[in-house]
């Protein structure tokens, strides 16, 4: 199972709408980095509104994919972090430093466009 990655102009949109298993999460990480390279994406929005539980492995993969995307030169916005997910991330010590976050996909895209416009 793979997570679809949508290309919208020079940005990528991803909506994770179910709990990820470890294999899918790693596949997603690989797919996203390849796609960033392929289209020369300057921004990525990852929407996790539908995720209301996250385990330590998935949290680590998410943190990693953000750092990797940044290394490749793409700005990342995470949208729709649910209370329980925020609690888990902080308790696991994954603070997602310097990551832009937004309430929902629309606000995330707007924030990204502002950042890219600057």
């Amino acid at each position: 199972m793979r997570i679809p990655i949508l290309k919208l102009y020079d940005c990528l949109l991803v909506s994770i709408q179910w709990e990820l298993d470890d294999q899918t999460a790693l596949q997603f990480q690989e797919d996203l980095l390849h796609k960033i390279h392929e289209i020369g994406a300057s921004g990525v929005v990852i929407d996790i509104t539908s995720i209301d539980f996250i385990d330590s492995f998935i949290a680590k993969v998410l943190g990693d994919v953000i750092s990797m995307s940044k290394l490749m030169g793409a700005k990342v916005v995470i949208t729709g972090i649910q209370p329980a997910v925020a609690i888990t991330l902080i308790e696991l010590g994954i603070s997602l430093n310097d990551v832009m976050t937004s309430l929902d996909l629309e606000k995330g895209l707007e924030k990204l466009q502002q950042e890219l416009g600057e």
Copy 2:
């Protein structure tokens, strides 16, 4: 397995990036109609760029979901129809009459916004 449906303002975006099996196609049909109802969507873009083969059942489900979405009041744009898919659709007698089509997701969204703006 379910296909993620992204909400962007009053439109829904769907990118189908792998061959659908029958169960997934029916689940997608149900999910999309529910989502249109839930958010009161006025437009839907379905991107099938990655699909380079379509069988008669999936073609029928696709035709149905377009008619159903229209009945519910949402405009539908199909983007990225590959040559082989176009050939199959016409050979099966599914002409997707009155459906807006576009080359890619960006053009599809623009066409939809034009239509909705009118």
